[in-house]
Amino acid sequence: MPGILVVAEPQGSGFRRVGLEILSKARELKDSTGGPLAAYVGGSGVADQAAQLGAYGAEKVFVADHEALGSGLAAPHVDVLAQLQAENDFSAILFGGTSQGRDTAAALAARLGAGLNSDSTDLAPGGSGLQATRPAFGGQNLVQSTWTGGPQIALVRPNSFQASESGGSAEVVAVTPAISDDALRAKVTARKPAEEGKISLEEASIIVSGGRGLGAPENFAVVEALAASLGAAVGASRAAVDAGWYPHPNQVGQTGKTVSPNLYIACGISGAVQHKVGMQTSDVIVAINKDEEAPIFQFADFGVVGDLFEIVPQLTELINQRKG
């Protein structure tokens, strides 16, 4: 069965949005690849939610339920996906660019000897199946890339596509996972979940970031309040992270995360090139900075020259009011 397999990561009783985004896009692509649009759901206690993917266009959903598949580690998924690939011969396997997605895609591609287009921001029919658009150097260049053979494995950056329902329903196929001892060598012995409701930077559709202009670690509360009002994730410049004001995983830029949210609000960030390369592919950039000469104003879509300690709390208030 040729066709596209979309790997959808379960999250709670639903799915990470990036998996739904890719499925929505794959509906448009499946004409060029043939075969039904399939999805893979692997986890522990995930059988019930698998059918939800039908609404996003999956025609067939392979579900593998096993304790090891819920550990957050990739190796057990690699075994199951390699097994599915051997049985179904998918022409393309698409992953969301999450930490688990990256690990699984890389190890699976290596096992299959397949090409991997990582960090893709667009997919289109092309050549012998698909072609991928990949930003290089923080979006300074856009590379069109294809595969030399199959299966065509891609990692897709979150927020590249809109998740939209098509109102279909899927046939759910239970897979008996055959997980090797090798895939169980790494074991999770304890888990410390992030705070409830915290949104990961890469997946967030809105990010509010703070920089050295915040002046002190406790002032990140101002940025966090705006983020909460917008349902946004919080980012930080390297200056703020190096000063110990905010944790490393939240750093945006050349030596932090590369993000492409729909909206990026920079508060007290000058817009140094090393910061810019991590966020310039955002759809809309808003900057608040008291220095009208700050480089961030050269590439922000909307900038306000002023004191963030005045403007950010007012904006938070206005947005909360609007929400009612």
Binding site: Q100, A106, A136, S145, D182, Q251, G306, I311, Q314
Partner: protein, 260 residues
């Protein structure tokens, strides 16, 4: 215990024009070149393990142009003991898999039990090498270690996952990528810099290293660049001075953009 650290020389990604539109490859011969920033955390961790007596040797392994020795020497200056650089015209254009195949061969011959990598390279930014190398080399592997401890025959790490931090235990030999949270890399001392020049630095061709040329370079690549475009740079938008209604103006803008 011997530790191998995979290191990479990268271009200064903040400079302009980095891909040759003709060949679709990185332009290798202009601008500043440097040790990948993320690799410094892996080098630092390895050197600390050696200083703590948990390891007796730290070797560096790399694939890249011969000139890369100059950038990679910084890792020797930080305290690594030796460098093996695989450099061969036939390895140019290697993708993630070609690179993993080459590094795995050198690793197998090195006798290293623990392999450390940075979480990604500042040029490609794919963050896939540790998983690919773990798979290709048949070693247990884990990515994104915020901390790392070696005891007996196993490694324990605090792994930054999508949903929090997990404690993960895996047996040696193992491949581990580390995050920036793991340590604060040292600046090489003058003595370290001087000493680095005298440390063993071997440049090997594919044949020298016993690497199958069909598995690396363009011959082994599973992806192919069709074209490279330079999209127009982002333009400055509207900039207003806050006269008490700056927040309202932002809100109006967000409403106009249908974001709120």
């Amino acid at each position: 215990m011997k530790i191998a650290v995979c290191v990479k020389e990268v271009p200064d990604t903040t400079a302009e024009k980095r891909i040759d539109p003709g060949t679709g490859r990185l332009v290798r011969d202009e601008g500043d070149r440097m040790l990948n920033e993320f690799d410094k955390y892996a080098v630092e961790e390895a050197v600390r393990l050696k200083e703590a007596g948990a390891a007796d040797e730290v070797i560096l392994i790399s694939l890249g142009p011969e000139k890369a020795v100059e950038s990679l020497r910084q890792a020797l200056a930080m305290g690594a003991d030796s460098l093996v650089l695989v450099s061969d015209p036939a390895a140019a254009g290697s993708d993630y898999l070609g690179t993993a195949n080459a590094l795995a061969k050198v690793l197998d011959d090195s006798g290293a039990e623990l392999v450390l990598l940075g979480s990604e390279a500042t040029d490609a930014r794919s963050g896939v090498m540790a998983a690919a190398l773990g798979e290709v080399s048949g070693r247990a592997w884990v990515t994104a270690a915020n901390s790392l401890a070696v005891s007996g025959g196993s490694v324990t790490v605090d792994r930054q996952s999508d949903d929090g931090v997990d404690t993960v235990e895996l047996p040696l030999p193992a491949v581990v990528s580390v995050t920036k949270a793991i340590n604060e890399p040292r600046y090489p001392s003058l003595k370290g810099i001087m000493g680095a020049k005298k440390k063993p630095q071997e440049v090997k061709s594919l044949a020298d290293a016993g690497i199958d040329a069909s598995k690396v370079g363009e011959a082994g690549a599973g992806t192919k660049v069709l074209s490279v475009e330079t999209p127009p740079a982002r333009q400055a938008g509207q900039v207003v001075k806050d006269e008490g209604n700056g927040a309202q103006q932002i809100l109006d803008f967000l409403i106009e953009k249908k974001i709120v």
